[in-house]
Amino acid sequence: MTVLLVILLSIGIFFNGLGSIGLMRFPDVYTRLHAATKCTTFGSIFTSLSVIVFGFYLWGASGDSKYGVLALHTIVALICIIITNPTGAHAIARAAHRSGVMPKQAVIDELKEANLK
């Protein structure tokens, strides 16, 4: 049980940390969004999954419904994160491109040629 929790937590923490390190290392807004969105969403799924497993395990072991409530509310928070995170990233990318921040080192930019407004 403890081993499973430690494995889930270490995967989650590893990807969350990678997200913030990628935020420092990458050169422009779009590549930073890649690191920030994907890594933090995936890491948060794993850390929340460990809390869900912990809650359901203690609910079954002790019968106290407080732990079940903990797991249920964590599921709701996880659904909120999964739905809102890519949508927010899409909004930021679109606003960045329309406000004139161009991708650095780009080999092709078809959106600039299309020029929608």
Binding site: F15, L18, I21, G22, R25, F26, P27, D28, Y30, T31, L33, H34, A35, T37, K38, C39, T41, F42, S65, K66, G68, V69, L72, H73, V76, I83, P86, T87, A89, H90, A93, R94, H97, R98, P103, K104, Q105, A106, V107, I108, D109, E110, L111, K112, A114, L116
Partner: protein, 169 residues
């Protein structure tokens, strides 16, 4: 009428999910909580029933589509997401990037299908949806490692348009 019932059921389930604690019914809710949930969800449904289903299309209510959606989430989507994260990890550590913005035309007509496809693209390997051409539903995608300048749909997102069409169209 259908939209009223669906909004009522959704808000009822959400209220019960958020207020679960001790009580008589199933050991999680008390009787007063159920009555309060009924009253509040009736009020919410009366006020907000026109927000859902603005285009009067009810095909998303089919339970078979929900089952396919869940299968899609735990199967191909989760696998692609794990692959995406290992790919991003490799690029964070080595710093090798070759970015660009490309255009694909997935030929989807429905708003829900486009939303599902764009969110899937954002969370899967090396791609991030930037903008949409609302006339003919072309997606503009930032690709972190451009391998050919005129990509096919399989290069960007694999089998996701087929799944999106199966789920939401």
């Amino acid at each position: 009428m259908v939209s009223f019932i669906v909004t009522f059921l959704l808000s009822f389930v959400a209220y019960l999910f958020l207020t679960a604690s001790q009580g008589e019914i199933l050991g999680l809710w008390s009787n007063y909580e159920i009555i309060a949930a009924l009253i509040i969800s009736l009020i919410v449904a009366a006020m907000a029933s026109r927000v859902l289903f603005q285009k009067k299309s009810y095909h998303l209510l089919n339970p078979l589509r929900w089952v396919i959606f869940l299968g899609y989430l735990v199967g191909p989507f989760f696998f692609a997401m794990a692959k995406a994260n290992i790919d991003v990890a490799y690029r964070v550590i080595t710093g090798k990037i070759n970015p660009g913005i490309v255009k694909i035309s997935p030929n989807l007509k429905n708003d829900a299908a486009i939303t599902l496809l764009a969110n899937s693209i954002t969370l899967t390997p090396g791609t991030l949806s930037v903008d949409i051409d609302e006339k003919n539903n072309d997606l503009y995608i930032h690709w972190i490692n451009v391998t050919n300048l005129k990509p096919t749909i399989e290069d960007i997102c694999g089998s996701f348009p087929i799944w999106a069409r199966r789920i939401a169209e």
